[in-house]
């Protein structure tokens, strides 16, 4: 197993700062903005983006947490030997109605998690718009989904593993690309 660092702690912070600036610019009215992190690592990332937006505009957008386990397509009848994902909390402190909801996740890969997140969100109301912010886009989409805000695009092979660590969940922070070495 070889492990190459793609972003260090400062790299993660700089990527998030840039995403926060783009969010403010592109959403226009930050009072409409609602950051919703996808469990697990999307949640602390959403909180950090909210803090950066608050520092820049003086208005802190609300932050929610979304668990997509009950909406996934890679469990249930589609996989023979599967494991039901552990449920985590969904907490949306204010209604998503008429908000510009920005989903926040650590890695964008096949797009299936985002599809599940979109369906989950729609069951909570009717947002004015939904955007997508990810720290890492590693390619290999299986669904017609694209991110609006990307921290770092990392070209990868299927066999490689993108490891995102954030201090709130893992104690360390950074992005690594890991691959099995043959032999």
């Amino acid at each position: 197993m070889t492990r190459v660092q793609v972003l260090d702690t400062r790299g993660v912070s700089r990527a998030l700062e840039r995403m926060a600036a783009e969010l403010i610019e592109r959403v226009g009215d930050e009072k409409l903005l609602y950051l919703v992190g996808v469990q697990t690592r999307g949640v602390p990332l959403a909180h950090r983006l909210a803090g950066m937006i608050a520092a820049a505009t003086g208005h802190e957008p609300p932050v929610g947490a979304l668990d997509i386990a009950l909406y996934r397509d890679d469990v249930g009848p589609w996989r023979a030997a599967h494991q039901q994902p552990v449920l985590r909390a969904t907490e949306l402190p204010v209604s998503v109605d008429d908000k510009v909801v920005c989903l926040v996740d650590d890695v964008l890969y096949t797009g299936r998690t985002v599809r599940a997140a979109l369906d989950t969100l729609m069951d909570y109301g009717r947002p004015r718009a939904i955007r997508l912010a990810v720290l890492v886009d590693r390619g290999h989409r299986e669904l017609p989904i694209a991110a609006d805000f990307v921290g770092r695009t990392v070209p990868t092979a299927h066999s490689e593993d993108v490891q995102v660590r954030v201090r709130e969940c893992d104690g360390e922070e950074g992005v690594w690309l890991a691959k099995e070495v043959a032999g």
Binding site: L70, G76, Y124
Partner: protein, 318 residues
């Protein structure tokens, strides 16, 4: 933090609390805790069990448990069919096994069974490919009731460990008490039971509880008091002289409740006989969580269905 949750429920069936480990119980309770939130959503439905079929095979009267399972199934998007013994071929003499095999021939994924005889769910679990969930078998087990009781206690107290739980009433005919004693003792609670001597089954202490002859001794200093229904329909002969006398000696009254901890929870699995085992002033009082138990029942049944849908492990060992 007391018990670590298991990574998964590697089971086909839920026939009782007895086969479950503490970690598996913790996983079901943790999952149920998250399921509660679905009831507060504008759209109270998730697609997790889309395309799954559940047959509710209720061979004995039930309102709360059957409705609770049906609501749980619908909230998870499963298709559910409910079966009542009176309007079926059971009244024409078909055996349970034949009924179950015929239902299974229609490819359901789950069979939820309530039956008057202990062991009926176990028998079906062995012969059917579907997941079997015990919704009460005779005087044996009622696992989802014990799980919803445990969730209710945990939501109020944060843990089951060290809680003193008094269970009072018809121990002889109660499946609720068996599942509860097994679950609570496995999770580190201290369980006391009390009933008239004529209603204490031989050997009940072996399940992991202290046996008392007076309600006062059982509830003194308790964190939770769980009252059991006097099952008048199951009494071949009365085990006490009169209902009035039972009330006088064994009912939970406001005076007796003062013996327990000040914030002691009052629970009852329902249906209640007001004025027999429980006084209305207690049943409707500020310490009563009886209706919360009903709400939590839906979340627990959703959790069990969800987790078993990912099972496909080895068949249930008794």
């Amino acid at each position: 933090m007391s018990v670590q949750p298991a990574a998964r429920l590697r089971r086909k069936d839920l026939v009782g609390i007895d086969p479950l480990s503490a970690g598996e119980i913790q996983l079901i309770l943790d999952t149920a805790d998250q399921m509660r939130e679905i009831a507060a959503r504008p759209i109270k439905k998730v697609p997790a069990l889309r395309g799954k079929t559940v047959v509710n095979l209720f061979m004995e009267a039930s309102t709360r448990t059957r409705f609770s399972f049906e609501v749980a199934e619908k909230r998870l998007s499963a298709d559910s069919l409910s079966f009542s013994a009176a309007a079926s071929s059971v009244s024409k003499g078909e055996t349970l096994v034949d009924t179950a095999l015929n239902l299974e021939a229609m490819q359901p994924d789950f069979i939820v069974i309530r039956h008057v005889h202990a062991g009926a769910p176990h028998q079906l679990a062995r012969i059917l490919k579907s997941s079997v969930i015990n919704a009460g078998d005779g005087a044996h087990e009622h696992p989802t009731q014990a799980l919803l009781d445990a969730l209710t206690i945990r939501l109020h107290r944060g843990t089951l460990e060290g809680q003193v739980v008094a269970i009072v009433g018809d121990l002889q005919h109660s499946r609720v008490v068996r599942s509860n004693v097994l679950l609570l003792s496995r999770m580190g609670a201290k369980v006391r039971v009390a009933a008239p001597a004529s209603m204490v089954p031989v050997g009940i202490e072996a399940l992991g509880c202290e046996v008392h002859r007076r309600i006062e001794d059982a509830i003194a200093g308790a964190d939770v008091v769980m009252m059991l229904r006097i099952q008048l329909e199951r009494q071949g002969r009365m085990n006490f002289p009169t209902v009035r006398e039972y009330y006088d000696f064994f009912a939970l009254t406001p005076e007796r409740l003062k013996l327990a901890k000040r914030d002691c929870l009052v629970m009852h699995p329902g249906p209640m006989n007001r004025g027999v085992e429980i006084d209305s002033r207690v049943a409707d009082g500020p310490q009563s969580v009886i209706l919360e138990q009903v709400t939590n029942g839906v979340a627990v049944r959703m959790a069990v269905l969800y987790l078993l849908a990912g099972g496909h492990g080895e068949p249930t060992a008794d």
